[in-house]
């Protein structure tokens, strides 16, 4: 089964090719079958490959497959080669599984859209590119997938391109992530020039051999890789694109901007963990960036009125948790949170999509309310997703993954109590905004009658994900509850094992659990419709200032607007005449003038032409004879 690994990314890419070439000629039904079916087939294949992999792990814990050599120039050889190890296996399963559910949901959500086939073509291209990214054994191939998912993100954010705001959001996402992409490319080239290889594994092992811990070149390389990860995963200071990316259709947000693409940064850092291990300063920066991001995004989520923006900020915040885990050297905890987050955050987006569809594309939560009895299925699944996001103790998947990160943030040898405290504050914030979403959308008086209920193709993915948002955590049960570390046992194979102090871990979890419950309770006190507590708070000057800051995401957009965008625009305006242009215009004028001067020679009279020929002959003869 393993040799068929290449077909996992090939299936969605084939779906893309079919839809891209013949999509307009197919019926919507056929488009749906090709679009969703190709990813579902990839999932079936991935599941079979995973079963084979787990039943008989290949030597060295990884299966490698070189398909062909892309090109060779001098010492630089780029291979199209895949590497399947537990880390990529988890990503492959998540991408194909969540991808097929989201595409099934989309077949109903996007129904009637004039660009139905274009949507599925790009979603398939995204799935294929993402699979290439996580399966690549070679930095260059990884970069190819990295850029391709960025392209798909751009295309799908701006999917409804007739609205200029969507186009601008797409451009912003593309430009901001491009800042990180350039850093990553420079990092890859630095690794290649220093270590002489593009293979990820060989580069890592050579780096460990060649560079001592703390070497400057290792730090620079790690910082550049981190730059790429920060851009793709919307971390501080490049987090500004993700909230705007919500302009795309909701299934896009669920798959690309919550479950998969934005976790590519987490994957990249986990994959190059050896490099970060010999660059302690940069590793610390990863944790600090994660902690700051999770706090800033958590606060920002509190004040948003757009339901998708709350979810977007919460995605940024949860990615911050993953970065904290990566920064303290607990890559398996980060990947575990990615795993559970993919289920519950995709679920939240799908639920939000059902609500938004019923509200005719109105995303303002203050226009909703009281939908609990009108949309019971959406209510229950959405609430389960939010409970998992808030890490409701013991019963949800989010609890087990976030608990692991919180535990590692102080118990790991690189941990720090400040990181732990930031994580605890973040979990209170998470509980607050997750409960706020549910309360504003589904409780209180009915403000608007929903215009339709999700049909079976939307309901099945939501229910499936709701089940997983609960049970996905049970693959990794902490030591004080009996201990069943299946997940970290799989992903973290090869990492040094640690014995964790049971009592400390239990105490820490208890603190976190109590804080979550307190957060949910205070959300009820603050946001339960009809309660005046929050209005009184916002009415005070301090409260109003805070609310403005939260709503604007702490003014990062305004700052970038003032520091980068507006000066650039002014410069462009100053140079409206373009100082290079006169040179070209002068060349053009010279040519025109010469033409005008020679125009007099074109008389049409044979005698004049003959005269020209005669003069020419005389000149040539004179030159030849007098030389």
């Amino acid at each position: 089964m393993l040799p068929l690994t290449w077909a996992i990314p090939a299936l969605p890419l084939a779906g893309f090719a079919v839809l891209g070439l013949a999509g307009r000629r197919l019926t919507p039904r056929a488009v749906a079958w090709v679009g969703a079916g190709s990813v579902a087939a990839a999932f079936a294949l991935a599941a079979a490959v995973a079963a084979a992999f787990l039943a008989a792990p290949p030597a060295g814990g990884a299966f490698s497959q070189t398909l062909w050599t892309w090109w060779t120039v001098g010492g630089l050889a780029a291979h199209v080669s895949l590497r399947l190890d537990p880390l990529s296996l988890v990503f492959v399963l998540v991408v194909t599984f969540v991808g097929s559910l989201v595409l099934l949901y989309s077949t109903e959500y996007m129904e009637g859209d004039p660009d139905y086939s274009r949507f599925f073509a790009w979603m398939d291209l995204f799935a294929g590119s993402m699979l290439v990214l996580v399966l690549a054994a070679d930095f260059l191939l990884l970069y190819l997938g990295w850029e391709a998912v960025g392209l798909c993100s751009y295309l799908l954010i701006g999917f409804w391109y007739r609205d200029c705001a969507n186009g601008r959001a797409a451009m912003k996402a593309f430009v901001v992530t491009r800042v990180g992409d350039v850093a990553l490319l420079v990092g890859i080239l630095l690794l290649f020039t220093q270590l002489g290889t593009l293979g990820i594994q060989s580069a890592m092992s050579r780096a460990v051999d060649a560079w001592p811990t703390g070497a400057a070149v290792a730090s620079v390389a790690a910082a550049l890789v981190l730059g790429g990860a920060v851009g793709k995963s919307a971390q501080l200071p490049l987090q500004v694109w993700l909230p705007d990316a919500m302009a795309g259709p909701t299934p896009v947000s669920a798959l690309i901007h919550a479950a998969t693409m934005v976790t590519a940064g987490v994957y990249l850092i986990a994959r190059t963990g050896a490099l970060f291990a010999i660059a302690p300063g940069v590793r610390l920066a990863v944790a600090v960036i994660g902690a700051l991001t999770l706090l800033i995004a958590g606060f920002s989520a509190l004040a948003q009125s757009d339901i998708k923006k709350v979810a977007a900020y919460s995605t940024v915040s949860q990615l911050g948790y993953m970065f904290v885990a990566l920064g303290v050297g607990a890559a398996s905890a980060a990947v575990f949170h990615m795993f559970t987050h993919a289920f519950f955050k995709a679920l939240i987006f799908l639920g939000a999509g059902a609500v938004i569809k019923a509200m005719d594309e109105d995303r303002d939560m203050f226009h909703m309310g009281g939908l609990k009895d009108r949309m019971p299925l959406t209510f229950w699944t959405f609430t389960i997703g939010c409970a998992s996001l808030a890490a409701l103790p013991l019963v949800t998947a989010g609890f087990y993954s976030k608990d692991l990160i919180l535990f590692e943030s102080f118990a790991s040898p690189y941990g720090d109590v400040w990181l732990w405290l930031a994580g605890l504050v973040g979990s209170v914030l998470t509980a607050l905004y997750a409960s706020r979403m549910v309360l504003l959308t589904f409780f209180g008086p009915l403000k608007r009658e929903p215009s339709g209920l999700p049909g079976p193709r939307m309901a099945v993915p939501m229910v499936t994900l709701a089940v997983l948002a609960v049970v996905a955590g049970f693959v990794q049960v902490p030591g004080y509850l009996g201990g069943k570390p299946l997940f970290t046992g799989l992903v973290g194979a090869g990492l040094p094992a640690r014995s964790s102090p049971l009592v400390g871990a239990a105490l820490a979890s208890a603190i976190a659990g109590v804080l979550v419950l307190a957060g949910i309770a205070s959300a009820y006190w603050l946001y339960e419709p009809g309660r005046p507590a929050l209005d009184r708070l916002v009415a005070t000057p301090w409260g109003a200032a805070l609310h403005r800051a939260f709503l604007a995401g702490f003014g990062f957009d305004a700052a970038y607007e003032a520091v980068f965008v507006r000066p650039y625009r002014r410069l462009a305006e100053l140079d409206r005449g373009d100082f290079v242009d006169p040179a070209y215009r002068a060349a053009g004028r010279l040519a025109a003038w010469c033409g005008g001067a020679l125009d007099g020679l074109e008389t049409g009279r044979v005698r004049n032409y003959a005269f020209g020929i005669g003069i020419g002959v005389v000149v040539v003869l004179a030159v030849v004879m007098l030389r």
Partner: protein, 101 residues
């Protein structure tokens, strides 16, 4: 003998110059054709003179070629002259200057 040969090339040059001047100065198509004829014969005279100087028949062979070509050229040229006369009602070359460039 050698004196005659020495005279041949200057005469050819003078003939050629006269022919060229005719082409450049005269406007009547028929006279222009005649001037071209003079230039061709100037070239032929140069060939023959050079052939005599080296004692080779090549010069005279080339002259025969020139005659043949000149005959062909005259037939085509006169046909064109007739067409021009029909189309423009004139034999003045400067009037037939519609094709510029």
């Amino acid at each position: 003998m050698s004196g005659q040969i020495a005279l041949g090339l200057p005469v050819a040059a003078v003939l050629f110059a006269i022919g060229l001047a005719g082409v450049l100065v005269r406007r009547n198509v028929v006279v222009v054709l005649m001037s071209i004829e003079v230039m061709l014969n100037a070239g032929g005279l140069a060939f023959v003179t050079a052939g005599a100087r080296w004692g080779l028949p090549d010069g005279q062979v080339a002259m025969l070629f020139v005659l043949a070509v000149a005959a062909a050229e005259v037939s085509v040229g006169l046909a064109l002259v007739l067409r021009v006369r029909d189309a423009f009602d004139t034999l003045d070359t400067d009037e037939v200057s519609r094709m510029r460039g």
